[in-house]
């Protein structure tokens, strides 16, 4: 009998396209002089940890594939195209060529369906993979040598309330965990989003001019620090409990449900999150963190 699948790491991986832009990978058409090192170096550190973990696939939940009718899963083995950020096209025009673990996607879709969640496989070959998926996956695994599965974010916060979204994202997380266990695969979960999410509506002439980068306001910062403090203490349930308030007060990108999905899939960890860096990008608050269920490899990073 095949051994049980498991979640080997959960990552909170924000996706400002600025970070890819600042890194100047060959896939991106724009050129930068750098910027946002605190986040980029944090990402590089987490990417090195991932290199030492044995895993089969990355499953990523993104707020930039927004579906109002249920939760959708990427359902074709390959996608190759160019992703142009609709908000920051000056920074992000990325030529991607990625593989999808369709078998795992289908299994998670089935489990979600059994849990009463509205689902759909996405099998249109012209579909463009969203820039949240591409940014987070590129920074976590610049070699792109593992298949991924993208899960769309259902817009329950806007349609109903943050509480409904939390219920739904939690149920989806538990369903995905069950499917992963049954698949026999070793999977890295990625929740792709910022924390506080108020943007400046103007951009510096040189976007990477770090003398102009700062958090939108102090209230956003204080809230972000509160969340990070709870994560450090291993209080993931409390993080979820104050999420509606946090999301409302800081227009946080947690409204998509990624973190709730991931925490539920991981059984609401009571151990400390590994913290890799916090920095603002065009005013938004961004944290890189991971949850390592393995007591022997879990680190105190920052």
């Amino acid at each position: 009998m095949m051994s049980k699948g498991e979640i080997v790491l959960g990552c909170l991986a924000p996706h400002p396209p600025h970070l890819v832009y600042a890194d100047n990978p060959p896939q991106n058409e724009a050129y930068s002089e750098g910027g946002w090192e605190t986040l980029r170096w944090g990402y590089a550190r987490l990417a090195r940890k991932l290199k030492n973990i044995d895993y089969d696939a990355i499953v990523i939940f993104t707020p930039h594939w927004q579906t109002y009718i249920g939760t959708h899963f990427l359902g074709l083995p390959e996608f190759k195209s160019k992703s142009v950020d609709p908000i920051f096209p000056n920074l992000f025009r990325f030529n991607y060529d990625l593989k999808v673990d369709v078998d795992l996607a289908e299994k998670m879709r089935e489990a979600a369906d059994e849990a009463g969640i509205i689902t759909k496989m996405m099998t249109n070959p012209d579909f463009r993979v969203d820039y949240g998926t591409i940014t987070s996956c590129h920074l976590l695994n610049p070699d792109w040598d593992k298949p991924i599965v993208t899960i769309s974010s259902n817009r329950n916060t806007h349609y109903y309330s943050p509480e409904v979204m939390i219920e739904q994202a939690g149920a989806l997380g538990r369903a995905c965990a069950k499917a992963i266990e049954e698949s026999g695969k070793r999977v890295v979960l990625v929740s792709s989003h910022s924390l506080s999410h108020r943007h400046f509506v103007t951009e510096a002439p040189l976007p990477e001019d770090m003398s102009l980068e700062h958090i939108y306001n102090h209230s956003q910062y204080v809230w972000d620090m509160k969340i990070i403090d709870l994560m450090r203490q291993g209080k993931s349930r409390e993080v979820i409990d104050i999420m509606p308030e946090f999301t409302e007060q800081t227009i946080a990108e947690t409204e998509g449900g990624g973190l709730i999905w991931m925490m539920a899939a991981m059984g609401h960890p009571d151990y400390s999150a590994e913290i890799y860096g916090y920095q603002s990008v065009i005013g938004t608050g961004n944290l890189i963190a991971s949850w390592d269920p393995n007591d022997e490899t879990r680190e105190y990073v920052l």
Partner: protein, 311 residues
Amino acid sequence: MAEEMNEPEILFGIYCPPHPHPLLCPEANEGYGKLRSAYDACRKRIEESEADLILIYSTTWPSIVGHQIQALENPVWTHVDDDFHYLGGMPYDFKIDVDFANGYASAAEKRGLHSRTVAYEGFPIDTGSVVALQLLNPDNRIPACIVSSNMYANRAETIVLGKAARDVLAEQGKKAIVVVVASLSNRMFTEHIDEVDDRIHSQKDDDWNRKILEFFAAGRLEDLSQLSRDIHGQIRVSKVVAYKPAWWMAATMGQHNNYAGEVLAYEALHGSGGAVITLTPTDGSFGDKEFDEDDVEFYHGDRDVLDKGML
């Protein structure tokens, strides 16, 4: 006359829905077919008009860094909708009026707005713009301009953005068709449905939609603009801060109620309210609406509207 006053020449306006069904599966539901026929009627009117430009404001193109304006001369791609990908891709090959786009961005800047053009191969043109342009202007007979809807912008910014469009239309002397791509009520069903069973999500949404359509049919664009906040509170899912399309449309076409309105179709699109409406500026309807001013520039005294009523 329009030239003397340096007023823009707006031939007519179109309000139409963003969802792809009328383009991709008009046969799936009788209502989708009616919306498609209404789009086709608008296409014909555009063809018969002397328009130099189709100017589109799309609620499915959100921006953050100011007001973005499409400025790539020939964007070519195959667009796929986030939700309705199973209905098929939407190949497009558009002709954009780059001069107008640049003019619009600087007119917006002159009025204190932050604005920028985007001209990148592969830029993801939104579903609403693709649907509208494909159906209204299939052979690119007339060049287009597409402007985004800023997520954080509220009434003041949106009205000024419309006025900036007037500035550049007048300055460049272009005759325009003004297109707003937006639902009426925008709540969709959150489950997949059989298309033949489509209907407006709720009675309340339907009631409000029909009231809005009465205003459109009477040409009361400015009144709709004034009602925007009520409409937002009543029948709009709070994805953005406000219901802005009537603000932009009124500010662009002229902030008054002197239009000939025609509702060509009103149908459900996965639960949301989809309507194809035309508004044509007219001077024939001055003073026939109870709360209207005869002249917004000069006070001619009390109109005694109530004295002329049935009492």
